[in-house]
């Protein structure tokens, strides 16, 4: 039934309606065929197929738009935060947008400030979609002032949350630059977010409403930028925070400086009981009201994504610093094309606890506890040597408190990772790329070796093969191999691969979920129209 609906819809979406507007959209399907794998002891699901499918379509006519999203899990891919074997037209909206006024009814996404007090978003890889269903009003009575008012429930898989959100956000531009590259800008903003969920428990003093209030300031000029945001949240006992009764507090500060070919940025963040959900019984990645990503470097190499930090909403303090600079071209070190260097350092500690009970604690606001949760230091270098030959390098050292990040009782992990990547563009549209990676550690599964080889013929073809091998594990050494290819034409891409996935954390944009070991065939297709 799903297929027979999709085919005519996708054909219809190809038509431009001329003066009556247009229809655009996208289609995405991700499929896995699982096979038995005695090496990793991957559990074979009862239905050996996992299939996540999304069809989105939007109609636009001048200031009006409306749309829908149809999703089918036939059933959902292994490791997803929920299991579904169903299909549904799950999201729909109607919207009117003008320069001074906007109204959306139905499903929508929104963010206040950095998202630390409110963010609704979608990430299909993680299985997160906390879209609001309700009403979203945007008002801009002057060029300097913007107001957002939202009301509704969050999406929970194919249902709605038990709790209701009411929220308002205001932003005032105190100083507005006349041109983008000159003068200063200064703005202040504030948000109020309230969540109501009926309470039917035995405690008469329990408050069913949780409120959060935030204030922020943003400044930027030609060389400098500064921002700060502070949030305070009322008592919010729920499953994910082990019924902690602390008032929630968060502080995020950012400072950046740019001059000539050098850029520097530092951000600092303190979190105290900042987990915020529309259902006090939800956990993992379900029904999140706010967005608390790990403020660490997002890594692109396989072995760099084994020990990845997950932000501790109950309590953490720390930050990261980045330094980017370019050695100019036509210099001795830079060569003909120049060389780019990026340095990053991140460090997160427990809060400095002064006193503690089973459901609360008192802590020093700017103090760092002795327990180190995570630190890493990264050095990336990229140099184009000739018109055909480019090389990149990574040196990374990590301290990873596995017990805190993944839960359980483990020894802390110290590891060093080195990566060398070479790109050889031997013809105008043909290239060969290879990566060699090595992870050194005496803990956990010991040393790893990784290799990737990829050949591409622009704009349509690429094929790849890769392997990650934990040869240093005393108990079991496993090759996590993967091979496949893709065909791309314009906005459409087909990807087929076969391989073995290790159990562990998969993190996208600083938010993580645990995935089980799995082996099999993967097929994905994405199309935009």
């Amino acid at each position: 039934m799903f297929f027979y609906i999709l085919l005519p819809v996708s054909l219809l979406a190809q038509i431009d309606l001329g003066k009556y507007g247009n229809i655009t959209g996208s289609f995405e399907t991700n499929n896995q065929l699982y096979v038995r794998d005695l090496k990793t002891n991957a559990v074979l699901p009862q239905d050996r197929i996992g299939s996540n499918n999304y069809l989105k379509a939007d109609y636009r006519f001048q200031k009006i738009s409306m749309g829908m999203q149809y999703e089918a899990y036939l059933p959902s891919i292994e490791g997803y935060p929920f299991f579904l074997n169903d299909a549904k037209l799950i999201q729909k909206y109607f919207s009117y947008q003008d320069t001074k006024f906007g109204l959306t009814v139905g499903n929508f996404y929104e963010q206040f400030g950095s998202g630390l007090v409110f963010r609704s978003w979608e990430n299909r890889q993680l299985g997160i979609n906390n879209a609001m269903e309700g009403i979203n009003i945007r008002i801009s009575p002057t060029n300097n002032f913007d107001l957002k008012i939202i009301y509704g429930k969050q999406r929970k898989n194919f249902e709605k949350s038990d709790g209701t959100i009411r929220a308002i956000d205001a932003n005032y531009q105190i100083v507005k630059p006349a041109e983008m590259n000159h003068e200063k800008s200064l703005s202040v903003g504030a948000s109020f977010v309230s969540r109501y969920q009926q309470y039917t428990g035995p405690n008469p003093a329990f408050k069913p409403t949780v409120n959060a209030l935030s204030g922020r300031v943003n400044y930027a000029d030609v060389t400098t930028n500064f921002s700060a945001e502070y949030i305070i949240k009322s008592k919010d006992e729920h499953t994910a925070n082990q019924q902690n009764t602390n008032t929630g507090k968060a502080l995020l500060v950012n400072y950046g400086l740019t001059k000539n070919n050098v850029g520097f940025n530092i951000n600092l963040r303190r979190l105290e009981n900042m987990g915020f959900r529309t259902d006090r019984n939800a956990d993992q990645s379900l029904l999140l009201i706010n967005y608390i990503p790990a403020l660490t470097k997002q890594q692109e190499y396989y072995l760099s994504n084994i020990y990845v930090y997950n932000a501790q909403a109950l309590g953490e303090i720390g930050g990261q610093a980045d330094l980017f600079f370019n050695i100019p071209k036509n210099t001795k070190l830079g060569g003909k094309y120049g060389m780019s260097i990026a340095f990053n350092y991140a460090r997160y500690h427990a809060l400095q606890i002064i006193a503690q009970t089973p459901t609360s604690f008192e802590s020093k606001f700017l103090g760092a506890g002795k327990q180190l949760y995570y630190s890493d230091i990264n050095l990336n270098v990229k140099k184009k040597h000739t018109a055909k030959f480019t090389s990149s390098y990574l040196l990374q050292h990590i301290y990873y408190n596995k017990s805190v990040v993944e839960g359980g009782n483990y020894e802390n992990i110290k590891s060093t990772i080195v990566v060398a990547e070479v790109l050889y563009k031997y013809a105008t549209k043909k290239a060969f790329r290879t990566e060699l990676q090595h992870l050194f550690t005496k803990q956990d599964k010991g040393n790893w070796f990784g290799i990737l080889a990829e050949w591409s013929y622009a704009p349509h073809f690429s094929i790849f093969a890769s392997d990650m091998y934990n040869y240093g594990d005393e108990n079991k050494q496993i090759h996590y191999y993967n091979a496949g290819g893709s065909y791309t034409t314009g906005p459409h891409k087909l990807l087929v691969s076969y391989g073995r996935q290790r159990a562990g954390l998969i993190c996208v944009g600083g938010v993580c979920r645990l995935v089980p070991a799995a082996t099999g065939l993967n097929l994905s297709f994405t199309s935009s129209f």
Partner: protein, 167 residues
């Protein structure tokens, strides 16, 4: 109907049906410049030139490779007149890295921010990098992903559009 057959037939039919582009009008939503000021999306498009929009992020290596390659083409004067706009889809985790990275790279094209990914959703850019070419207010070409050499294809497309617009 057997599920395997259903999925295969679905994928095949959509692959065949998705071979044409829709000449689409532009969405009426705001985009944020690097100073944090919100401006109408249509105001950043140069109606007198072909405009190329690249969705990217500071953590996306193929995205940065593509923008580096396009900057080289601009420096070499390989393309006839076009405007390049890079819209960063960096979220709260990495958005603060945009300015220092761009400054160190010395990119000469305009940078905008789409932290809430509203623009990315409106253009149905499922994965990044994602490139859109706009001519006379309409989308005339879209491309997902980047492999070395894609910039050559893009420049060829831009030059063809400029020739057809100015015969």
């Amino acid at each position: 109907m057997n599920l395997n057959y259903k999925s295969a037939l679905l994928s095949f039919s959509l692959f065949v049906s998705a071979s044409a582009y829709s000449q689409s009008l532009l969405p009426n939503i705001p985009v944020v410049n690097s100073k944090g000021i919100s401006v109408p999306f249509k105001s950043i498009i140069d109606t007198n030139r072909v405009t190329v929009i690249s969705f990217w992020a500071t953590w996306c290596v193929p995205c940065i490779n593509e923008l580096d390659a396009l900057q080289e083409k601009i420096d070499e004067g390989k393309a006839t007149s076009f405007k390049l706009i890079a819209i960063s889809t960096d979220e709260a985790r990495t958005v603060q890295k945009v300015r220092p990275m761009v400054k160190s790279k010395g990119w000469t094209f305009d940078i905008y921010l789409d932290e809430s990914n509203e623009i990315k959703r409106a253009f149905n850019a499922i994965n990044i990098p994602y490139v859109i070419v706009i001519s006379k207010g309409k989308i005339v070409y879209q491309k997902t992903g980047y492999t070395p050499g894609d910039e050559e294809v893009l420049i060829e497309k831009i030059n063809q559009l400029n020739v057809s617009d100015n015969p």
